[in-house]
């Protein structure tokens, strides 16, 4: 017991102060692709069809980008550490341009999450799992993962939605009480990502019509991005 207390005292508080989502993000982090850095004509090099054709540098769809850097010059420098926001419409992933200063989430209220892995590579889940660690501690924002869909406000879906998980997705959604929404967490859940057009998957939640969805690209979206997206869900649900 004494050794436990000693280690606790020595470790101290590592959770960042209120208002901050998590630890500092290094400048080299791959948050989002910067379109001005894309090699002109690199569309053919993109494994997911996220770029516009015809020699332009334009990003056609952030919802398809897996941040692989194949459209960048050797060394693959061309990412901003800033992560993408959660989008209210799938279409917004196509039309978004980086704002001068991003508005970040506010505290207040609670939100219960049901997690559904629909074929993720598990990095998306691990980033959600990281939110429970003391480095982020999402419970301080009133968020938690619950053991039953009956208790959930938001369904967090990761992965491209496999054939075998489609039914589980429908049933989980049906079991949740209104008001409710879905967070498509990660490029896979948004568009299928690198698994797009497989025989065994759908293209993420793109064609899903079960209910309102918030779209969060990223491969994976970092914990801060998921946290911010969850806070956005909370704002939305409160307004409904």
């Amino acid at each position: 017991m004494l050794t436990i207390l000693k280690k606790r005292w020595k470790t101290g508080v590592i959770t960042p102060p209120n208002g901050e989502l998590g630890p500092k993000v290094p400048a080299v982090a791959r948050g989002r692709l910067v379109s001005s850095r894309v090699t002109p004509g690199a569309a053919a090099a993109c494994p997911t069809g996220a770029l516009s054709r015809c020699g332009s540098r334009a990003i056609k769809d952030y919802g398809r980008c897996i941040l692989c850097g194949n459209c960048l010059p050797p060394g693959r420098d061309g990412f901003s550490p800033e992560w993408l926001p959660a989008f209210a419409q799938r279409e917004d992933c196509r039309t978004w341009t980086p704002p001068a200063a991003a508005a970040r989430g506010k505290a207040g209220g609670s939100l219960q999450i049901r997690m559904l892995d629909a074929g993720s590579c598990n990095a998306c889940e691990q980033e959600l799992g990281a939110l429970a660690s003391p480095a982020y501690d999402f419970q301080r924002f009133g968020l938690d993962v619950v053991a039953s869909p009956r208790h959930a406000d938001v369904l967090l879906v990761s992965g491209p939605v496999t054939r075998m998980m489609r039914q589980a997705l429908e049933r989980t959604w049906e079991a949740m009480p209104a008001p409710k929404m879905v967070l498509a967490a990660g490029t896979c859940a948004v568009s299928g990502g690198i698994f797009r057009s497989s025989y065994a998957t759908l293209d993420g939640l793109e064609g899903w019509e079960g209910g309102p969805v918030i779209w969060l690209p990223g491969c994976p979206p970092r914990p801060q991005a998921i946290l911010e997206a969850l806070l956005a869900c909370r704002e939305k649900l409160r307004g409904s």
Binding site: V28, R30, G119, S133, T162
Partner: protein
């Protein structure tokens, strides 16, 4: 590659001979070769132990007679491989004791085999009415069934567990997995080999670097390439960082499984520190985009200070683990729980920490060195208990060994280039590459087509043989102990399902 081609009828005899020489099943691959031959190629790869190399046995299955002799009577470890071949390629293993579907979705039409070349990529066959999966019936007085999943209460990947229990005691467990099957191997086909890397590193987030290196090594072997010493050393560095964050996670998860919050919280805190180091070095917390065929995509961003940070982390971990090791009530809870016997581990071809915890002394880094491991001192801890405590202790000891390896790697990092060009690869030539991932042997088997494109790609990760062993460790235990036992294996569903 050390490969012998034999007639289908001779297959079993040859395989029996390999077993007598102490061979262990390494991977299996079936491939549609009707393009240049009269049927399907079947490849069984065996490891011949430390310093003994590998032996591949290949045979041809005629398209007009799409059956083959199951090798499971000799190597039981091939049981899931052969069921997978049946589902995805439509070749029937004769004499297989459990020929039920494995990978095929429940609503998949009969007679359609996605890994055959006449099944077009991108095709999504219409849903048929879902078939009930034929679970093994268990009867008797007082036996009840507990179905769990595929969606779980928490942040867990998808899979279904069917328990049969009397009171609280589990008398059988059947794991119905492959809910996360994404058709990765078909998606790889036709892709240019360098582009396919982006798919390979997304097979599994927790073993991403292990997959990437195994795949890259398969191509380098095929092209007779040697990556520069600096690239080899940095690959080993990244692989050890991957092992480190996984093992820290798993130790924390075992603590969480017993309700020991001190260990759980410190485990997740330390894992987060390693993820942050990964990101500082490569721009990615899970090391995506770091490995390329022929070497590395770029120099690491920030090596300065890394050795110091790792030393601090090592001390921090030392203080944490001392508390865990000293806590007798925690240790007591792990002891005798979820025992996997050495005999079962061998028979089922279990790999990695799970095998080493059951007294099976195997580690690819030492037995068949790759990357920079040939010049390093790789310590391989072995435990005999086979229970949760043994799997916990193996990880604790491997974390110490990994810190030592990282120190050795960083004190004498070779200078020089980090990438060599791949060149034109010989088409339709089988090759494979492997790594010892945090969970054990991870093998990528490949055939390429002209123009450096993937023709066939089979991935057999450590979770593949190990998942099949979990039910054996669970039987006879209490139902509430299942999460703890499962966490002590900490297998990936994503790796297995693909």
């Amino acid at each position: 590659m050390n490969l012998i081609r034999v007639a289908k009828a001779e297959m079993l005899g040859v395989v029996r001979g390999i077993k007598e020489r102490g061979g262990v099943l390494f991977t299996v691959c079936g491939s549609d070769e009707r393009l240049w031959d009269h049927g399907f190629g079947l490849y069984y790869v065996f490891s011949l132990g430390k310093g003994g190399g590998f032996q591949t046995v290949a045979t041809m299955v005629d398209a007009a007679d799409a059956v083959f002799p199951s090798v499971t009577s000799v190597f039981e470890a091939a049981h899931w491989d052969e069921r997978e071949i049946q589902d995805l390629l439509g070749l029937v293993p004769l004499g297989h004791l459990d020929p039920r579907p494995l990978v095929r979705p429940d609503d998949w039409p009969e007679g359609l085999f996605p890994l055959r070349k006449d099944f077009p990529a991108g095709e999504r066959p219409p849903l048929v009415t879902s078939r009930e999966y034929p679970f093994t019936p268990v009867g008797g007085e007082g036996v009840f069934q507990v179905p769990v999943g595929p969606v779980h209460a928490g942040i867990i990947e998808s899979g279904h567990f069917r328990f049969h229990a009397v009171g609280e005691r589990i008398i059988s467990l059947e794991a119905r997995l492959f809910y996360n099957h994404r058709g990765v191997e078909k998606l790889a086909e036709g892709r240019e080999v360098e582009e396919a890397m982006f798919l390979v590193e997304r097979i599994c987030g927790s073993c991403s670097c292990s997959h990437a290196v195994a795949y890259a090594q398969a191509l380098e072997e095929l092209g007779s390439l040697q990556v520069p010493p600096r690239a080899a050393a940095l690959r080993s560095t990244y692989l050890e960082l991957e092992r480190l964050y996984n093992h820290l996670n798993d130790v924390g998860a075992i603590c969480a499984g017993t309700g020991f919050s001190f260990g759980a919280v410190h485990g997740s805190r330390l894992k987060e520190e390693v993820l942050a180091l990964n990101e500082r070095l490569t721009g990615h917390r899970y090391l995506f985009g770091t490995i390329v065929p022929g070497g590395l995509s770029r120099e690491p961003f920030g090596l300065e200070g890394l050795a110091g940070d790792l030393a601090a982390l090592r001390e921090d971990w030392g203080e944490t683990v001392a508390v865990l090791l000293d806590n007798e009530s925690f240790r007591e809870r792990l002891r005798d729980t979820g025992r996997l016997s050495r005999e079962a581990a061998r028979r089922l071809g279990v790999v990695g920490p799970a095998a080493r915890a059951s007294g099976v002394d195997r580690d690819l880094r030492r037995d068949h060195p790759y990357a920079a491991y040939g010049r390093l001192e790789v310590t391989v801890p072995v435990q005999q208990g086979g229970d949760v405590e043994a799997r916990f202790l193996i990880r604790v000891k491997e974390i110490a060994a990994t810190f030592a390896l990282l120190e050795e790697l960083l004190t004498d990092l070779p200078a020089g280039g980090i990438r060599v060009p791949l060149g034109e690869l010989p088409p339709y030539t089988p090759t494979f590459g492997y790594t010892e991932s945090p969970r054990g042997a991870n093998v990528h088997f490949l055939l390429t087509a002209p123009g450096n494109r993937i023709y066939r790609h089979r991935v057999r990760s450590a979770s593949f043989p190990n998942w099949a062993a979990v039910p054996f460790a669970v039987e006879g235990n209490m139902l509430p102990d299942f999460p703890l036992i499962n966490k002590s294996f900490e297998l990936c569903y994503a790796c297995l399902d693909r």
